[in-house]
Amino acid sequence: MSLWRQLTRGLGALTRGAAADRDLTDEVEHYIEQATAAGIARGLTPEQARRNACLEVGSTAAVKQEVRASGWEAPAGTLLADLRFAWRRLRSEPGFTSVTVLTLAVGIGATTAIVSAVRPILFQPLPYPEPGRIASVHEAARDGSRMSGTFGVFRALQERSRSFESLAVLRAWQPTVTGGETPERLEGQRVSAGYFRVLGVAPALGQDFRSDDDVSGGARVVILSDALWRRRFQADPAIVGHSIMLDGDPFTVVGVMSGGFENIPAPSAGIWTLLQYGTNEGRTWGHHLRTIGRLRPGVTFEQARGELTTFAPDLVRLAAAADGFFPGGFILTSLHEEVIRGVKPALLVILGAVTLVLVIACVNVTNLLLARGVQRRGEFALRTALGAGRGRLVRQLLTESVLLALLGGIIGMVVAVLGVRALVALSPPGLPRVGAIEVNGAVFAFGLGIATLVGLAFGITPALQAAGSDPHRDLHLGSRRSAGGHRRTRSALVVAEVALALVLLVSSGLLLRSLRSLFAVDAGFETTQLLTMQIQTSGHRFDADGATDKFFADALDAVRRVPGVSSAALTSQLPLSGDSDEYGVRFDPPPPANPREGFNTFRYAVSPGFFETMGIPLRSGRLFDEHDRAGAPLVALISESLARAKFGSADPLGARLQVGPPSAPKYTIIGVVGDVRQQSLALGEASAVYTTAAQWWFADNAMSLVVRTGGGPSLLTHSIRQAIWGVDRDQAIVRVATMDDLLAASAAERRFALILFEAFALAALVLAAAGIYGVLAGSVAERTREIGVHSALGASRGRILALILRQGMSLTILGIAIGVVVAVVATQTIVAMLFGVSRLDLVTYSGVIVILGGVSALACSVPAWRAARIDPAVTLRAE
């Protein structure tokens, strides 16, 4: 009740200030009247009575002040007055205010956006119970690189290891689901039964996999992701226990994961089935599995590593006995480390870059506030002389700074929200945990906290300086005189700004030139007007290789008949698409230059016409033709670099080679073709062997179609798809993309980093220019009188122009010199992201220096021009 009164009356006094004031005046006035009347009644003259009454009451203003100060609203009123005053001040200087607010907004916004994006990836634990115990296990190749695991090793570890509570292996699985409107190729995983237990999660509906089912020939069961369950099965809870058709076989749905489940090891996977390997099959010792495990509570990674090492000699023997291979060591890391391994360096560099932007923004704001503090010396001196206390002045300035910071913070949040959206939209496919990126509360608070701290820190310096100075002297000097000490601080800040901007500009320049040189790389084939897609066969009709071959041949014929198609061909793996199908190759007789067996040779099974369609040049011999079919003599083509590596200057034509196991057939080399970039434009010198699909020793059940078109390649997508479905309605067509799309995607990570760096560098450039401009403009304003005297004494406009320009450019040059030194050191962090350009690239450095110099000259020229136009008569009269 009384609290309510306190609140309403107080608010009433605040909002109806004038009316409340009138009432109070009236009441005091009435008091005096009554006292006067009482005096008259006692026999005093009216004048005497009035005088006595006034003496008794004292100053009306003081009484009112006393009453007003007693309520809670008094300090609030001061705050409001401070805010109102600050707002008026800021509005009266729109240039200063908008530059400061925008500077803060860019700094805070960019930092918040990047931290929002990077935090869940790098710094947040994985979204599983006790994620620190989840480990990733690789076999360590002799050169220290990671090798995929084998089922044999997994089983051995499962039996022997005491360090792990549970272990699991997984591999990709892409079943085609039928029974709906269109067949759909799903992204999934084959996992051993303990997979979800390693992660520490269980299905939300139904049950987890049972170990009894995870045997060769066990029950066909699947677990669905929440997203797939909703999209394909209308979120029907009754689906559990029913079967769905995958690749022509019925699979029983045993569980559905919860909507919050994030499948970190393979983010795109939405369906899981059991691995169901036997212990004595060909694939038992194939290196194609990923292994993860959950450590027992209290077991450290170091202990687990130690234990794994003790198993190694035994595993080498075990593998060799089964005609398999174990390299002799393990690499054990936490799953989190493993997931972020590829992106961590780039993300840290980006985090560093955005920190630079924030630092530049803060330096800029400090500079602006310092300059403003100097210009307002006169004002503060006047207010001190009029009785404003030191505390009151400090509070006023702090209010202004915090108001600025908050305005900057609010706009910065808008920048952050838009920035995070842009980041997610631009993020390269390899970025893990993109789904977890959002501007969350903590990061929002982080941004606002920075804004306020920045405001307090920068607000307090000029406030203390202003409050601590002698009002008499300052008033006397006026506000337009020089202030040497500040100018030096601010010059130092500008130098720092220019140096930091140069570091960012050089980094983004190097990345830009890397991307340029990357796209200048010859892919080895004609990339324009090339449409690609993958056709996948599924179902028992294709159990016989003949059926597969016939389907692909018919489909290719159908595609070639589509109007607008110039030529078309099939290949088992498509360059730059992420395919990576590598084999070991042996030559017979052993080649002269390097007789040892070569690993890591890309194997392509193609249709005749592939080289003509792709535009891969023939170096010697002949290409495939229609006669190279099954039953004809086995022939192969090899790539230029393989020919050079194995045969040197000798002629490889007529030599024979064997791809894969010793039992594989031997092919005669009939030609050498140009090199093709298979994995990415950055990785060259790929050894490759080509055979016709008809002569390869098994039928690939997924083939990529490449189509050379006359016009825009993507226009033909629909008619080509219809042509293929005209041959067989049930086959999935996926990964439709033009080769230009694939090229862009292969450089997605570099492009992502480049876009961010370009944005940061641009912001840094603008901020640095604003900083130079601010300092020079402030300096010109302070030195108006000095400049006026100069020109009164006969200095020409040209000289004054040169004076100011020299002042600005000397700061720039010093900043550039320092920046170059810093950049030479700092660019070490981005060496891994560079391609075809040195981190000391002269062109980049000189280009950046020219840009930075030009922009700062522009920023200098405006205040210099203003200084040159100062009229000495006006200046001197104003004194």
């Binding site: 009384s2 009356r9 009432d23």
Partner: protein, 111 residues
């Protein structure tokens, strides 16, 4: 200064105002005048403290205020006791009586 009047004892002004208003609604000068008269000039009221006290008591909900016409037709702010003001007066009165009795006993024991 040979003025015999003293300032009101710290903390009793509120009680004096409440007591004065328990008889009838009054305006500010009337209250000051009444306190001076009844205390036979012992207490002299400072107008600033008085008006501040009015605001405090009003916000506490013990007083209500109303602008009325005086006999001379002038606008004046009259204060009156609310029900919770009456209760507060009782509390303060008994509290005061208890304290002064204790102080009196102490002084007597000393003598």
């Amino acid at each position: 200064m040979d003025d015999p009047s003293t300032d009101v004892i710290q903390g009793t002004l509120d009680m004096l105002i409440l007591k004065t208003l328990s008889l009838e609604p009054l305006h500010g000068f009337g209250i000051a005048r009444r306190i001076e008269q009844i205390s036979k000039g012992v207490f002299k009221i400072n107008p600033g403290s008085l008006l501040t006290a009015f605001q405090r008591l009003e916000r506490a909900g013990w007083l209500d205020a109303e602008w009325r016409r005086t006999e001379t037709g002038r606008r004046a702010k009259y204060y009156m006791l609310t029900r919770s003001g009456k209760r507060q007066l009782e509390i303060e009165t008994s509290d005061w009586t208890r304290r002064t009795a204790a102080v009196a006993r102490l002084l007597k024991a000393e003598g």
